[in-house]
């Protein structure tokens, strides 16, 4: 090998290093191009959505305030108000958090602190797998199981409702919350636990008084990530939401969150209607941006 290598080296030197340097710089450019591709995609998507979505307000003379706070969405009569959808999105996300966060958090604590290895070996992959299930399958599950269940057992006229959305989203956000929170809890130094246990605190006491507070920023990040997943979810929600255009006043009302409004009508929309759907996308995107900003703040705090 050594002799071969030497021969190679001598050959290359004799040819001059030009070729080598050329390939070197070429490959680094290829890598750069790959890296830039994602940045360019982001800029293109954001640019396109904002360009299309802002058009009706700039050239069409529509008021952005009426768009945000109008309660009528009747595209064929030129009425575009997305307030019911904003409310629906917020309610659905908060509802999913109320159910999903405690379950997810306790699962993460269980996996990181309490579960015997044999149990964790089964539960952990199951949760990872849950994250890999295509979202439309969650929707079909919701439509085939949750919706009829609500109709039959609670006497609802329509099973497609806010509560159905909340239940589906709560299940969907579990993997995100569990995985991120578990990592955060595992990252807490062992000495914390040992110190606490040595002082005579019980295991559960140690977990809730010492470990969880120490992993606070990681857990917050988990919650925000789960929130983003719930807010952006479309395909699963479209099947179980009912998509009615009302401001929900109870859990049994059928709702239309922002995402499903876009997905539901984009295929049929043209002209201003289509641009208004892009505008709905802007509002959704703003929500996600705010969430990401909050997430960045949380992780920055955690790093300090």
């Amino acid at each position: 090998m050594n002799i071969q290598d030497k021969n190679e080296l001598e050959q290359q030197i004799s040819k001059g290093n030009k070729r080598k340097y050329f390939l070197e710089s070429l490959s680094s450019k290829v890598f750069l191009a790959c890296a830039l591709l994602s940045v360019i995609s982001l800029l293109l998507i954001v640019g396109f959505v904002f360009y299309k979505g802002s058009n009706p307000f700039i050239t069409g003379g529509y008021s952005f305030f009426d768009f945000l706070f109008g309660s009528d969405w009747v595209p064929s009569e030129d009425k575009f108000g997305i307030f019911p959808m904003i409310v629906a999105s917020i309610y659905a996300t908060i509802g999913a958090l109320i159910i999903g966060v405690p379950i997810g958090l306790l699962t993460a604590i269980f996996l990181a602190e309490i579960a015997p290895k044999s149990v964790a070996k089964i539960v952990s992959p199951a949760i990872q797998l849950l994250a890999g299930i295509p979202s439309v399958l969650y929707g079909i599950f919701g439509l085939a199981i949750i919706v009829p269940f609500l109709q039959n057992n609670f006497g609802l006229a329509r099973g497609q409702s806010l509560i159905a959305v909340i239940l589906v989203l709560a299940i969907m956000m579990l993997p995100t919350i569990v995985t991120v929170a578990e990592t955060a809890i595992r990252a807490v130094p062992k000495t914390y636990r040992e110190g606490s246990l040595a002082l005579g605190v019980s295991q559960i006491g140690t977990i809730f008084k010492v470990v969880v507070p120490a992993a606070k920023s990681g857990i917050m990040a988990a919650i925000v990530l789960g929130l983003g997943r719930a807010l952006g979810e479309t395909m699963a929600v479209i099947l179980v939401a009912g998509n009615s255009l009302i401001i929900p006043t109870s859990l049994t009302d059928s709702v239309r969150p922002l995402t499903t409004n876009i997905a539901l009508e984009m295929g049929y929309a043209a002209g201003t209607h289509q641009e208004m759907l892009f505008a709905t996308g802007i509002v959704l995107f703003s929500f996600i941006l705010i969430l990401n900003f909050v997430l960045a703040r949380i992780t920055a705090k955690g790093a300090q």
Partner: protein, 276 residues
């Protein structure tokens, strides 16, 4: 050695990528000997177009691509030359006619009001249909049925079926009862109605089966014969829209649909042929 291997792998990847870019061109030139007809539009016309295309492809050397994306999108595609033919289940709007697009009636279709099979109400007047969908009647009891709240299921705004239905029944989009469930596509409406004994919705004739109960309108059964006679009022034309200068293959396909053989397929598919 290792470096050389790396370069080799890198170059191979580069070549594969370049080859992939090239292959697009070759596939286009290949299709020269097998004509391609691109069709997109209404989900109501779609199943019929699929069946027509299937039969046509058996005898002719063509490939027909059909995308069911909704009437408005299909018409837009035809105008913008994205597809050669657009399918529509509603009449063209003025701005669409102004863009210089031609329409061709390929069949007629009935829209049928459907409810859960367990629903004892089997006959509605047009006025009652309107009152149900605008929220004036909210309980099946008022129509002689069980004491159950009515759950209205509608298509989304912009759908050709919804436009046609509203126009015939006589109400505007804004009048639709607010808590109506909105589902995309005929199949989705059928499933929603079939699984909810409160529900009422409307679907295209082709989608009728035993999972839902079809309502008579003004005492007239939802049948093809009644549509052609003009007795059944909830009917509309199925349109192919296209530009004047479509490729020959597409023109031939449209001729085939209008021929006796084509119209037989229309009838077999559950739609209503132009003549009987």
């Amino acid at each position: 050695m290792l470096k050389k291997t790396c370069y080799f792998i890198g170059l191979t990847i580069l070549m594969v990528v370049l080859a992939a870019c090239n292959s697009k061109d070759t596939s286009e030139s290949n299709s020269g000997n097998e004509d391609l007809i691109t069709i997109s539009g209404s989900t109501s016309v779609g199943p019929l177009a699929e069946k027509l295309a299937e039969k046509y492809e058996e005898t002719e050397n063509v490939k027909i691509e059909i995308n069911q994306i909704g009437s408005s999108a299909g018409i837009t595609n035809a105008i913008k030359d994205v597809s050669q033919i657009g399918m529509s289940s509603r009449d063209l709007k003025q701005e669409e006619i102004d863009s210089g697009i031609k329409e061709l009636v390929i069949a007629y279709d009935g829209i049928v009001v459907v409810a859960h099979p367990s629903n004892p109400v089997k006959d509605l007047t047009m006025e009652q249909v309107k009152q149900i969908f605008t929220g004036e009647i909210t309980n099946w009891k008022e129509l002689g049925g069980k004491d159950l709240e009515i759950v209205v299921v509608s298509r989304e705004d912009g759908s050709g079926s919804r436009d046609a239905f509203q126009e015939i029944v006589g109400y505007k989009s804004g009048q639709l009862i607010r808590n109506a469930i909105v589902a995309s596509g005929n199949g989705n409406i059928k499933t929603t109605v079939a699984t909810n004994k409160h529900a009422v919705g409307f679907i295209s004739f082709e989608y009728i089966d035993e999972t839902v109960s079809a309502m008579d309108i003004n005492g007239v059964k939802a049948e093809a014969g009644n549509v052609l006679d003009g007795n059944y009022q909830l009917s509309r034309p199925f349109l192919f829209v296209h530009k004047e200068d479509v490729p020959e293959a597409a023109t031939k396909f449209m001729d085939f649909i209008l021929s006796a053989d084509g119209q037989k397929i229309v009838e077999a598919a559950g739609a209503i042929p132009l003549t009987k």
